[in-house]
Amino acid sequence: MNKIFGVVLAVIGGFALGGIALYRQEPINSLWIVVASVCMYLLGYRFYAAWIAAKVYLVDPTRATPAERLNNGRDFVPTQKWVAFGHHFAAIAGPGPLVGPTLAAQFGYLPGTLWIIVGAVLGGCVQDMTMLMLSMRRDGRSLGQMARDELGPFGGFAALIGTLMIMIILIAVLGLVVVNAMKHSPWATSTVFATIPVAILVGFYMRSWRPGRVLEASLIGVSLIALAVFGGGWIDQSGMRDAFDYGGTSLAWFVIVYGLLAAILPVWLLLAPRDYLSTFLKLGTVFLLAIAILLMHPQIKMPAITQFVDGSGPIFTGKVFPFVFITIACGAVSGFHALVSSGTTPKLISNERDVRLIGYGSMALESLVAIMAMIAATLLDPGVFFAINVGAGIAGATPEAAVHTISGWGFPVTVDQMAQLAKDMGEKSLFARTGGAPSLAVGMASIFGSSFGRGLLSIWYHFAIMFEAVFILTTIDAGTRVGRFMLQDLLGHVSEPLGRTSWYPSVVLSSFLIVAGWGYFLYVGVIDPNGGINILWPLFGISNQMLAAIALSVATGIIIKNSKPVYALVTGGPLAWLALITTVAAWQKIVSPDPKLGFFAAASDMASKLAAGALPPEKAAVAPQLIFNQRLDGWLTVLFTAILWLVILDMARICVRRLSGKEVARSSEAPYQPTKLESLPLPGDLHGAAPAGH
């Protein structure tokens, strides 16, 4: 029966995927993409993941998990597998898979879509499942601890530095996305501002008035936020409009101050309630988007492949290889997931065989979110897509100049069309709204509008913007806090009191340092006339893939020690690919003489123009900061690449010793204990518990 199911899946999936890849005459329907991706995830889950679980990790349903052995009713709790799946998916799903595919759509829908599917099935899902498995066998140890135990002190240190760097770049780039979405949009700005008092109210409700009533409080909060979307429309039409009309720099300062406050205030006041709200919004919106795409199944208007694969792309520069793989990290392979998979979730797993569903399955679902973002970006007229996503520095500062440039690329668009679209969406202008959020919101509004009522386009648009902003602000809060803990851990080696996470001066100092780190990159991104995203997003992609490569190195080292060496290809294969693409991308960003691509080339180019007095005054004023920033980004890329290769060499050293029969550090796996746990029923299960082992 299972075999027939597999064959049917393979035939449908292969047919759909082949259809996507070969069908070029007419616009393709988005349903093909959905069908192809879902079939591939199911095939990967049914066969590849099952094989890895059985052969490589020797999953043993009779072995007691840490949740059972160390059950304390708090963080170590045996949890039903679908509940743990829900927790894990909510933890890994962030704004990343919404932004990356939108930017990568400049290459056409095909390269990004294929990478999202193949990257997830063979790389990302495998990484997540692997980290979950390895951490679970080691009592829920973190990636950093496992790197130290299995590779040595250097590996552990590299993982810590890598995580801290990626956190800073990630928060900066997400902050930039949210600033660009709110820039000169009183509707969006007032709605996003309103989410802060709503979160505080929810915080008081859950802590003081009705302690722990999470669902009641979230329901109230989500309703208030929905009201705020309508309220923002009212403000936009009223005399209060100007009070919420801000430029990029003011909004950047707002995000910076907000991030600092959220990091030093108690979690119950802002961070925790906001997280509940954003999780509900996130899951609800993703679910709604999936239904709307199935109902509407829009035509894809973007060509399969555009001329920008040659590296001349206007959203970011660089050839399709390696840059499509760098731009789409979350949704295909995201190193960040290794942190979540080796933290909270392994302490919840009640039986080893659940790892496949929770690790591989959650990532497959996240990858499907990235596919939906790709559909939302490519169903727009390509001319409109580029008009929204290309910075004024490249397309031209006036609407006339921009439509002229973009139509000249072969993607016709008119000033009237853009004006009508902006009016429909309740915005003043949609030109040069870089960062991916506005174009995703336009795409989502079109899908929701045609599925659930066209008259509400502007409401849907601002709902989508608010949804992304709430999401991103949560990542900013949580990321700053995690960065603070890591920094305190590092500072603790210098001076003992600084390492105490509850000592208030240390909390303020380390939070300030982290916020200053990402605040700097955010500020420079905002003043950059080309939009900033084109610089920061590749840097984020490279750092995220570097973290994935560190995680896969740790995993490969462990497999080599414990299992048949040939099985190391399961993680070694994706590792080799990630090492290749990050190194090629980093190499090009460092040495390319093209000022649009190379960081150092851009710095020298701008410096010589500044010296010759060839820059217009408003550009000359910010040029010194931009020049410094390009050089800094260049050196950061050098640092990332160096860390990556040192970790790979450290892992290779272990492999060589093991294969030549020499002594290696013992694996730190916790010893076997038989499980006494019965299989857990679903909460409120109709059929009761099944006996263990079936």
Binding site: N71, G73, R74, D75, V77, Q80, W82, V83, G86, H87, A90, A91, I92, A93, G94, P95, G96, S142, L170, L174, M206, R207, S208, P211, G212, R213, V214, L215, S218, V267, W268, L271, A272, D275, Y276, T279, F280, C330, S334, F336, H337, L339, V340, G343, T344, T474, T475, A478, G479, R481, V482, F485, T501, N544, L682, P683, G684, D685, L686
Partner: protein
């Protein structure tokens, strides 16, 4: 006929109840009840924390590691 409607109705109600329990479990709304039953089973000699203290402690612990991603 009435029999069929009644059966279908009670099945639908049971499914709704199951869905509700699932949402409560995933969101952590039932965490205190779970804690009480764990506590009663493991430490029957000690008094359990009250609802508010439990929630404060649980929230503090949740936000001490990497719990959210990009």
């Amino acid at each position: 006929m009435n029999q069929v409607v009644a059966t279908a109705g009670s099945a639908a109600l049971r499914w709704l109840a199951a869905g509700w329990s699932y949402i409560r479990a995933v969101s952590g709304d039932d965490a205190y009840e779970r804690y009480l039953s764990h506590h009663a089973a493991e430490h029957p000699d000690q008094p359990p924390m009250n609802r508010k203290d439990f929630f404060v402690q649980r929230q503090q612990q949740k936000w001490t590691g990497v719990t959210r991603c990009c």
